[in-house]
């Protein structure tokens, strides 16, 4: 495609030829003809040869706030020079360049490669895709430009940050709670040997007992004792109202961080952790242990976005049948705009669950983005306090979580129960 410069040069050339002919001026005619000849000669070479692009990332999964190292290898696979080629790697706008640059002007000889290296800061959790790679080739005199892109994407998941949670902060009044794993003499997921049984298709190969196979000639697998663990339920409020605040600081962001941190803490103790996210619908991840569950929880939390307005009681009603008896339940919600919260909490406590409500203070988040008159703020704050007091009166442990407060600091509020 012609650039503006080429269009002007060509038009100017033709105009000069015509004006030169009109006023019988040879200089103008020749100047015009030279301009046209310049365009013609330069049009012989256009575009670029076959270019191969390969992107390497330092990691596919990262935690929020981490740095991602990206290397883009551009190779000229054709038998001619690429001419002036601008390579631009498209990055999600949520990510910030920390070092290097995601573009380069290059002119690759046949077979030559160039590496573009840059570092991205990932300040927001989520599922992202880097790419495609945009290519823009120009000829030396900027008369022709061709744009295309290489459909090469690299997907990455940014998990919520994991904050350190200290054991002491989560001490419960019920000795059974949070005691970690004890083995039961029943087969299931665990670490201790239980028995041998015949191989069934679908069993993982790592469980095959090769010595038994050598001895008997039949495939046998090891069965483990089931670990008796505490089932912990995390209910995360992802309703539209949880977006109040800034992009980086809002109830939902703090909620995902706390859910991820609590899940990490309990899974490390080999407890089972379940996650329910409610927004316009309910997403439920059944309780399980291990790294796989940890990854599932982080992936689910990475993709959370504020939407919908599902009431908490609808969540507890639909999940109550799945909750293990007496298991602790963490409700992470600002408790705003939902009149069913006290009833839902009362219901859970009545069923014998130890309920902890971790409530990011949405009023204080709102203050970060808009000016609230002092009187209005005081009234709203009082209303919130009343709401939380009601929940505490229902038998739940309530944590009022301020925006500038660390998770460990917030959890200290339930210390001593």
């Amino acid at each position: 495609m012609w650039t503006r410069k080429a269009s002007f040069t060509f038009t100017g050339g033709i105009a000069l030829v015509l004006i030169g002919m009109m006023i019988s001026n040879l200089q103008m005619m020749i100047l015009g003809l030279t301009f046209v000849a310049f365009i013609v000669v330069n049009s012989w070479i256009s575009g670029h040869g076959e270019v191969e692009v390969q992107r390497t990332l330092s990691a596919d999964n990262l935690y929020k706030g981490d740095d991602l190292y990206v290397e883009l290898l551009v190779t000229n696979r054709s038998n001619r020079n690429t001419q002036l080629l601008e390579v631009y790697d498209n990055i999600p706008h949520e990510m910030k360049l920390r070092s290097g640059l995601n573009q380069m002007r290059l002119n690759l000889k046949p077979g030559e490669s160039a590496r573009i290296r840059y570092v991205l800061r990932c300040p927001l959790r989520g599922h992202y895709s880097i790419g495609p790679v945009s290519l823009r080739s120009r000829n030396t005199f900027n008369l022709g430009v061709d744009e295309m892109y290489v459909d090469h994407h690299s997907d990455i998941v940014i998990f919520p940050q994991i904050k350190e949670v200290e054991e002491a902060f989560l001490r419960s009044r019920t000795p059974k709670m949070y005691t970690g794993a004890t083995t039961l003499r029943t087969p299931g997921q665990g670490s201790e040997f239980y028995s041998l049984r015949e191989y069934v298709p679908g069993d993982p190969f790592k469980n095959i007992n090769w010595k038994a196979f050598a001895r008997t000639g039949e495939l046998m697998v090891n069965e483990k004792c089931r670990d008796a663990v505490t089932d912990l339920y995390l209910l995360l409020d992802s309703r539209d109202i949880s977006r109040i605040g800034t992009v980086l600081k809002n109830p939902l962001e703090m909620g995902t961080v706390s859910a991820a941190s609590l899940a990490a803490f309990f899974l490390k103790r080999r407890d089972s952790v379940a996650l329910a996210i409610f927004d316009e619908k309910l997403s439920y991840l059944p309780p399980d242990t291990g790294d796989k569950q940890y990854f599932k929880i982080l992936s689910a939390l990475a993709g959370v976005s504020p939407k919908g307005a599902m009431p908490l009681q609808a969540v507890t009603n639909s999940l109550s049948g799945r909750f293990s008896r007496g298991s602790p339940v963490f409700i992470i919600s600002s408790c705003e705009g939902d009149g069913t919260v006290p009833a839902a909490v009362r219901d859970l406590v009545g069923r014998g669950h130890e309920v902890t409500v971790l409530s990011p203070s949405s009023i204080d988040f709102e203050r970060l983005v808009s000016r609230i008159p002092r009187m209005s703020y005081e009234v709203l704050k009082l209303e919130r306090q009343n709401r939380l007091t009601t929940l505490a009166g229902s038998g739940a442990q309530v944590i009022d979580w301020m925006p500038d407060m660390d998770l460990s600091q917030a959890l200290m509020q339930v210390r001593g129960y």
């Binding site: 000849a37 054709s78 001619r80 590496r115």
Partner: protein, 407 residues
């Protein structure tokens, strides 16, 4: 951008090892950049000399204007003949002024790289010198006269006559400046990295050519009387071509000079703008990229290609224009030689086809065919073949590690 060149620090890793980086201070001394700037300067001088030798010398040059002014005022202008070129003949009249113009342009470029404070001081010094030169003698003699006569009065005739010399000097310098404007601004643009100055230089040249073309138009030229007769005009009636390629005569000397003007304008424009474009790109790169050997290597590739293409494509442009201008005679020869019919005879003897319209139309036809060749000749493959023959198609080893800095 020019202001920042002096402010940047040299970058060294340590000891005597000084890696190549894309910092402007280092990049400006790189041979490709210097080569492009020298090419642009040579093209500028060449273009200027071609224009003045074709249209100005002996017709409307500055020495003739100085002579006219001297006759009008009845005395010599204060600026020396050695500086103006008066008394010399032909292009010799422009040799010293040209050197002066280049020096002035270079000084202005140098000034652009000084700190704002230094620039301010130099400009202030220049203005004060100019004011002192202009009215210094008048103020001193007038003030002294009033003191000695102890009288408050207006300056008398003798005192006012002290203004003559500085006014005539400034007038002479301004005339010279006007004549040398393309050279001064062009030099300032090339070495001072100023797009505006380059545009001024090219614009002024084209403006001059345009005004000259209008004044040389027979209808207007006739109205100018004796002034019109003094204007140099290039005849559109062509004589036998004397310059060509491979024994094939294509253009006349006059046409060749005009082609040279057009090609040199483009060489000057593309080289000077190219330098600014590449330095701007390097300037905008973040610090880590400036030190990245990969970026340095690619900058080398881009600059080398620009140098090659400046010679290759602009040379081809000149040749294509020459062939285009000579194409009408080829067409006429073909028609005359191939058919032998009555129509062919009429066509070959047609005066119209060998005059301006025939020439231009056949030239445009030739250029159209050249443009269409793009779709029939696989130029990319041809260049690839040329590269293969030259042994350039061996894959360059990819550096697994970087020499200096990693992210």
């Amino acid at each position: 951008m020019a202001d920042d060149v002096g402010l940047q620090k040299d970058v060294t890793v340590g000891g005597d090892y000084r890696p190549r980086t894309l910092h402007l201070k280092l990049l400006r001394k790189q041979w490709q950049i210097l080569a492009l700037q020298i090419i642009a300067t040579v093209a500028l001088v060449g273009m200027y000399l071609e224009v003045v030798s074709t249209y100005v010398v002996g017709s409307i040059d500055h020495t003739m204007l100085f002579d006219t002014i001297e006759v009008l005022i009845g005395q010599q202008l204060p600026i020396g003949d050695f500086l103006t070129g008066e008394g010399s003949s032909g292009l010799g009249r422009f040799s010293v002024p040209l050197v002066l113009g280049l020096t002035l342009g270079g000084s202005m470029a140098l000034l652009a790289f000084q700190t704002p404070k230094t620039q301010q001081r130099i400009k202030l010094g220049f203005i004060i010198t100019l004011i002192v030169m202009l009215i210094g003698r008048l103020v001193v003699s007038w003030g002294f006269g009033m003191l000695t006569s102890f009288d408050l009065r207006l300056p008398d005739q003798a005192e006012l006559s002290t203004l003559e010399w500085p006014l005539l000097m400034i007038l002479s310098l301004m005339i010279l400046f006007m004549y040398l404007l393309p050279v001064i601004m062009g030099t300032r643009g090339i070495w001072g990295l100023s797009r505006r100055s380059i545009a001024w230089s090219i614009g002024f040249t084209l403006l001059f050519l345009g005004i000259h073309a209008i004044l040389a138009f027979p209808l207007i030229n006739g109205q100018l009387g004796s002034y019109g007769d003094a204007l140099t005009t290039v005849e559109t009636q062509f004589t036998e071509p004397t310059i060509g390629l491979f024994g094939l005569m294509l253009v006349t000397n006059e046409q060749f000079a005009l082609i040279m003007i057009a090609v040199l304008i483009m060489v000057f424009q593309e080289s000077s703008y190219g330098v600014i474009r590449y330095l701007e790109y390097a300037y905008r790169l973040p610090e880590s990229c400036k030190r990245d050997p990969e970026y340095v290597r690619q900058m080398d590739n881009v600059l080398n290609t620009h140098l090659k293409h400046t010679f290759g494509f602009l040379g081809l442009t000149g040749i294509a224009t020459m062939v285009a201008l000579g194409f009408h005679s080829v067409l006429l020869d073909i028609v005359e030689g191939s058919t032998g019919s009555q129509w062919a005879g009429q066509v070959s003897e047609s005066i119209e086809l060998s005059l301006t319209y025939g020439l231009v139309i056949s030239a445009l036809m030739f250029l159209s065919i050249m443009a269409l060749l793009r779709f029939f000749v696989p130029w990319e493959r041809v260049w690839g073949l040329v590269n293969t023959i030259r042994g350039e198609n061996q894959a360059a080893p990819v550096a697994a590690t970087k020499d200096v800095v990693d992210l």
